[in-house]
């Protein structure tokens, strides 16, 4: 939405605050900002929208003899200056996740936050969001959140807690604190205070996904605690070793933004980076790679060693050779390493070696050296100090667990970590007897809360004041959008309670920022970040002499394996849906199909096709996995899913699932008990894979909800061959070199079928409608940069009130997501290529859906939108049948009737909620279009390009989506459409879609082309 407006509304907001800026009145301000009336109003509003279900059906044609139920209007008693009912406000705030934090702009209706977008100027978000950030708004309205403090499972009022909650006295001996890592200066300040005051206590930090190895590895070489930030826009050659920097990564938005810069193709001359990927899992980064080589986790040492040696041979003479007795890689692989090494050297200082943060630290050190020898350090890779962060620490975590098991902990404070979920298998069963008091500060009634004597509800970040730092050092203030919905407090408030004084989190933050002038403070809140702090953490690393690093090479030498092993390995990754499990109760993320497997709601054990054959397994067989961890045997059961492109005898297990929560509300179509499998028991704490797994097949079957490849297409040669034939047309692609020779290759497919180059020449019985008067809305999607992350579809879900339907319905093929993220595998099953294509309604000018609707419920407006009038729709489903792209979604049931009221608060009041029996689909965010148009009219001006930004467009960190007026030749979208690798899907049907695609390019190394020019396409799980 128009940024101009944001600023305006925010300005007024701040003027109003300046009037009452001494900290006393801030209290009253916080109260005033959300007067008692507000919540009520917004609730009735959502309820009103909700009524529109029944309303929609009954009220039409005035067929209701009796009039609608009486509607009450609740005005404000004392209207807040900054809120005009019906006009949404935009506030800047920050969401922190792990060691990073993202600046965001939150849309708020009558004091009710409804939608999140990235903050343009914040370096970590650059105007876009990840699916996690996007979906985090739903957590605010999570009906199952802990609603008030509990003591021995009796609820306690907040004031009561604040007054007589003094668990800590003395020097804190016998006291232990466990928390996740954090980047907030205020929290850090309180943390230091705590450690000073209770000197005998131990504070442990633990993240399931931590940068610990990376930091320590880099620290070994650089003597500084730093994290790298990659600048892909400054690099031509990128090697990713087990690193999913485009997907599930701390800094993914920055990575995607910079990556797409050096990936977008406009003309023949444009250069495009080349991405090599070596990985044991299958990640979004891997799917984007020009060369992807799979590797078993236990071979990574060998790979890096050989790379090191090859680099050394080919010009990086300073590097010390590692003595490899016998290479375990075949010819093809070695050739790849050679080519890769040459390529890296050729692009000195313009290349990046990115390595997965969970890999052992010595590898990080070596890769640092390699990057240094490649002159990448301080060019394409910069390093940023992490001193201000409180970081995950594995060793002390292990110690803590020992201490607990040996009964040396009396008071255990757990800060927002599901302790039991993580460590149940390591903990003594009688933990409740061993530890006197367990204090749990968290948001849900999870396993940990079961054993704790005190439970203190944690405020959502949109409910609390706080501050945060990004990896690059950008500091920002977290300002609340709404007063806490439940009796919860922020972590800062909790810590200060522990320190014995009850101070509001606003004051705590203010105190931390006392060094800054209140003007700077206000500006920071307004902008969402502190300008002066951008990349304040960056440290320039002096060259490290390779000699000083001898023992890195030797350690690596020790770890080399001399022969190819084929023992079963379990490789653990962070979930694409739940991250480390913190989003277990976020149904948007749960239902959004996994970006790679397309499975929703659960995790599965992924195995390669060969492994499946060896163990005679097929999809959704349940297997039992056993593993011995220091003497004790652990086992889990999980359904199998076969995925091409995985290394053999390697089982990929997603962590974060199987986290049991106690729920307050129970939904009809959503089965809350579907949790997936907790795979942690067979994972050795700290390591990212476990060797020597014992696999045994059980007779059990577990049906899995997969949104693509229904009905075992792979078993059916007929279908497979057909897809093979169609794919090149559906997703048109070319090697960048071929493109330079033939830049309108996209048309070849049409010409083969004698389809004229421009739509207007397609034969038709009717004269085509005249759409020459602007604005005419159109969209363009660049397949070359789409990583298939779900950010767009979740943004759409949040913007358009798309219901969650639950696993059963997804299995029945009734998922509602308006954007279908198509994922195809190409080439040979062992080393496939990947093709991704988001498909939403293409708004065809000759829309096939419209002519078949008997009641004209879906029609075209004069700006070329293919509109849906839900209240006119009678649900014949004919339109969906006749849609060649199958982008229409039908409400088979009344999915929204039991949406808890608090969840309804997340609804966008500008979009009506659909009743059962109604067809729905992408509307090009028509509500945003009309909003922009009306604002323009009221301001007596013409619409400008960029006034309308659709939800998916802003969310996309790769900037793959452009939207705008196609009549205006200068608009971004017209320019994109004018490119000659722009094509429209299924052109021969003469539907004239308004959404067109830019073809995908691959940039393989010429010397490696012949290895993967096997262009057989197959569709496969």
């Amino acid at each position: 939405m128009p940024q101009i407006k944001n600023n305006k509304t925010e300005k007024t907001y701040w003027r109003s605050l300046q009037d009452k800026m001494d900290s006393k009145e801030i209290e009253s301000f916080i109260v005033n900002e959300f007067p008692a009336g507000t919540i009520e109003v917004s609730e009735t509003m959502t309820r009103k929208k909700f009524l529109s279900l029944m309303g929609a059906s009954m009220a039409m044609a005035g067929l209701v003899g009796c009039r609608k139920p009486i509607q009450k209007i609740l005005p404000y008693v004392n209207a807040p200056e900054d809120i005009i009912p019906g006009i949404s406000n935009y506030y800047a705030t920050t969401m922190s996740m792990g060691l990073n934090s993202f600046g965001i702009i939150v849309e708020s209706h009558e004091g009710r936050p409804t939608h999140i977008e990235g903050n343009q100027d914040h370096p970590a978000s650059k105007g876009s969001v990840t699916s996690y950030v996007q979906a985090s708004i739903l957590d605010l309205y999570d009906p199952d959140r802990l609603k008030s403090p509990m003591h021995n499972s009796k609820s306690v009022s907040l004031t009561n807690l604040k007054n007589n909650f003094t668990p800590l006295t003395g020097d804190g001996s016998g006291v232990a604190v466990l928390s996740g890592s954090f980047n907030s200066p205020t929290t850090k300040r309180l943390y230091d205070k705590f450690n000073k005051k209770f000197s005998k206590s131990t504070w442990t930090t633990f993240d399931l996904k931590s940068q610990e190895n990376q930091i320590s590895g880099l620290a070994y070489s650089t003597k500084k605690e730093v994290l790298p930030i990659y600048h892909f826009d400054k690099s031509n050659i990128i090697l990713s070793i087990e690193s999913d920097f485009l997907g599930n990564d701390q800094n993914s938005i920055h990575n995607q933004k910079t990556f797409s810069k050096s990936r977008k193709i406009k003309t023949k001359k444009d250069k495009m980076n080349r991405l090599y990927c070596v990985e044991s899992t299958l990640t979004n980064t891997g799917m984007m790679a020009d060369h992807r080589y799979k590797i078993r986790p236990d071979e990574v040492y060998n790979f890096i060693a050989e790379l090191n040696n090859t680099l050394a041979q080919n010009g990086l003479y300073k590097l010390k050779k590692i003595n490899i007795k016998k290479s375990i890689f075949d010819k093809k692989y070695q050739k790849f390493i050679k080519v890769l090494a040459r390529d890296l050297i050729k692009n000195k200082s313009k290349s990046i070696i990115a390595i997965g943060d969970e890999l052992p630290s010595e590898l990080h050190s070596l890769v640092f050296i390699l990057n240094q020898e490649l002159k990448n350090n301080n060019n394409s890779v910069t390093y940023h100090s992490t001193d201000d962060f409180v970081k995950s620490d594995l060793e002390s975590t292990k110690k803590l667990i020992e201490k607990i098991n040996s009964g040396n902990v009396d008071d255990l404070f757990i800060l927002d970590v599901d302790f039991i979920h993580l460590f149940s298998h390591l903990l003594n069963d009688k933990i409740t007897n061993l530890v006197k008091n367990i204090y749990y500060f968290g948001s849900h009634k999870d396993l940990t809360s079961k054993i704790s004597t005190w439970m203190i509800p944690k405020s959502h970040y949109l409910e609390a004041w706080g501050d945060a730092k990004s990896i690059d050092g950008t500091t920002s203030i977290v300002q609340p959008l709404i007063s806490p919905l439940y009796n919860s407090i922020s972590i800062n408030e909790f810590l200060s309670l522990l320190l014995g004084n009850d101070i509001s989190d606003y004051d705590l933050v203010k105190e931390t920022w006392s060094s800054k002038s209140s003007l700077v403070f206000k500006k920071t809140i307004h902008d969402g970040y502190l300008k002066s702090s951008i990349s304040s953490n960056s440290v320039s690393i002096p060259r490290v002499s390779v000699e000083s690093q001898q023992n890195i090479f030797s350690t690596i030498e020790e770890h080399l394996s001399n022969k190819k092993t084929n023992n079963l390995i379990a490789r653990f990754t962070i979930s694409n849906q739940l991250y480390d499990g913190r989003y277990t109760n976020n149904y948007w993320l749960r239902e959004a199909p996994d970006t790679i497997t397309k499975i929703s709601w659960e995790n599965v054990a992924l195995i390669s096709i060969k492994t499946a054959k060896d163990y005679s397994l097929k999809n959704s067989d349940i297997i039992e996995l056993k593993s011995k961890i220091n003497g004790k045997e652990f086992k889990i059961e999980a359904p199998v899913w076969v995925l091409p492109g995985l290394p053999n005898d390697t089982i990929i297990l997603e962590m974060g699932y199987g986290r049991e929560l106690e729920r307050d509300v129970d939904r009809n179509y959503i089965d809350e008990d579907i949790l997936g499998v907790n795979v942690l028991p067979i994972k050795e704490i700290g390591s990212y894979y476990s060797n020597n797994i014992l696999l045994s097949k059980t007779q059990k079957i577990h049906k899995v909800a997969c949104t693509q490849d229904h009905h075992g297409l792979d078993l059916e040669k007929l279908a497979a061959n057909e897809i093979e034939g169609r794919l090149p047309e559906i997703i048109r692609e070319s090697n960048i070199e071929d493109y330079r020779l033939n830049d309108d290759f996209v048309l070849d497919y049409d010409r083969k079928k004698h389809i004229p180059d421009n739509d207007s020449d397609l034969p038709s019985m009717y004269p085509s409608h005249d759409y020459s008067k602007g604005p005419q809305w159109g969209m363009n999607i660049d397949l070359n940069v789409c990583t298939g992350c779900n950010a767009c579809s979740i943004a759409c879900q949040s913007e358009n009130n798309i219901p969650v339907v639950g696993k059963q319905q997804v299995m029945d093929g009734r998922e509602m997501s308006w954007i279908r993220m198509d994922r195809y595998f190409k080439g040979d099953v062992e080393n496939p290529e990947f093709a991704l294509q988001p498909v939403a309604c293409l708004h065809c000018e000759n829309a096939p859906c419209e002519q078949v609707c008997p009641v004209a419920a879906t029609t075209h407006d004069k700006e070329g939108l293919n509109g849906m009038a839900y209240n006119r729709c009678i649900g014949t489903r004919y339109c969906a049948n006749n849609c060649p792209y199958k982008v229409r979604r039908f409400n088979f049931y009344n999915y929204t009737y039991d949406t808890p009221e608090v969840v309804q608060m997340a609804n966008n009041p500008d979009v009506s909620i659909r009743f059962r029996g109604v067809m729905e689909k992408c509307t090009f965010c028509v509500q945003r279009i009309s909003e922009a148009k009306i604002t323009a009219k009221n301001e007596k001006r013409e619409l400008a390009d960029g006034d309308v930004k659709v939800a998916c467009q802003t969310a996309c960190a790769m900037d793959a989506i452009t939207f705008g007026d196609i009549i205006d030749k200068n608009s971004k979208v017209s320019q994109a459409k004018s490119l000659n690798h722009d094509y429209s899907l299924l052109k021969e049907l003469n539907t004239k879609p308004r959404t067109t695609y830019l073809a995908k390019f691959r940039n393989p190394h010429p010397d490696l082309v012949k290895d993967n020019n096997n262009k057989e396409i197959i569709e496969h799980h």
């Binding site: 229904h710 169609r726 004919y878 049948n881 060649p884 029996g917």
Partner: protein, 462 residues
Amino acid sequence: MTDTTANKLQTYVDEAPLVEGDHNFSTITDKICSIVESKPPRGWLIAFLFSFSLLLILQGSIGYLIWEGTGIWGLNNPVGWGFAIVNFVFWVGIGHAGTLISAVLYLFRQKWRTAINRFAEAMTIFAVICALVFPGIHIGRVWVAYFMFPIPNQMGMWPNFRSPLLWDIFAVGTYFAVSLLFWYVGLIPDLATLRDRAKSKVKRLVYGILSMGWRSSHRHWQNYELAYLMLAGLSTPLVLSVHSIVSTDFAVSLLPGWHTTIFPPYFVAGAIFSGFAMVMTLAIPARKIYGLESIITIGHLDKMAKIMLVTGSMVGYAYAMEFFIAWYSGNTYESFAFVNRAVGPYAWAYWIMISCNVIIPQLFWSKTLRTSVPVLFIASIFANIGMWFERFVIVISSLSRDYLPSSWDYYTPSIWDILMLIGSFGLFFTFFLLFLRFLPMIAMFEIKGILPEADPHHEEVH
């Protein structure tokens, strides 16, 4: 008359007599009226109770459908139409024989139609009722179905006359209305007969009202016959158009496997095929139970069998043509759609269809099979099954795999789909049995009209 004249008569009538046994006007009247006047045989009672219970099932499941939503069916995203539409097209098809037999055969002066036209027409009407149930309930929001009719309303909105579904509404609706008129007009003289024979007051009253005071005046007969001819003339193009229009539901769309110009003729052929099959299925037991062998003779069955043979083969030809065109068009989507039918996940349905609609009718090349009642009966039932599966194959296999493979899915019917299919038969047979019970199932005055002595000059044929 002498043998020679008898032979002459033979050659003149050129066929075996249409009514066997020595019937005269009054015996015909007695024979047919007695069915309505006497108590129903036990067979009728059992059949009625059975089909009525099926009807209750239908009502039950429709109630649940409207309460819960369309989700209770096996539908999913690519497959938006399931059993409901399959049943609709199936029943519309059944509904064809009736009007065809009476109208078209009437225009062609096919006298033999008189024996079967009455209950063929009745069958038509009930089949169309069954058909109309389904488009009604298959929509997501039944309570706003009236949006589809051009009624002036506060929205200032009108239906979209470009939509094949709307064509359906008009076509099938008109077909129902016209068939009803045609049937009723045909009934009037016979109702008068029943009126005049009625013993009880109630019967006299009811039949009296229905027969509109018919007094078999010839001045009336004159208008009556012409009007009947006109209706026949109107129904003939209608009959042919209705199923063509229904087929446009598919032919007008752009789905591979639906988007086919051959659909209209081939749907009509199929409809006639299934229609005659159904007539057969009904006539054979009826003539047995009510002892009408002398009126619905083997000759009639034989003729119907021939028609089934012809139409069945036409359908077979259409199947072949579809494949040829799909291949000849060179359109990959098109050809895949058909290959997928034959060997894809729904091959089983496809081959049931082929064997029932194309192979089994070939039996009728043999005179002996054509005239063996059990064979006819079983074959006709198979034909019905086959025609149902034809619609199943067309609707589901095409939908489940269209253009973009990512959205391909498989459709499995839910229990409710099946219950509603069964229930629709309950609806059909309940109506039909009531018809047998209370109305003359054979057009008496027409039968009389074709008796030899009906011809004023029948004695002086020389």
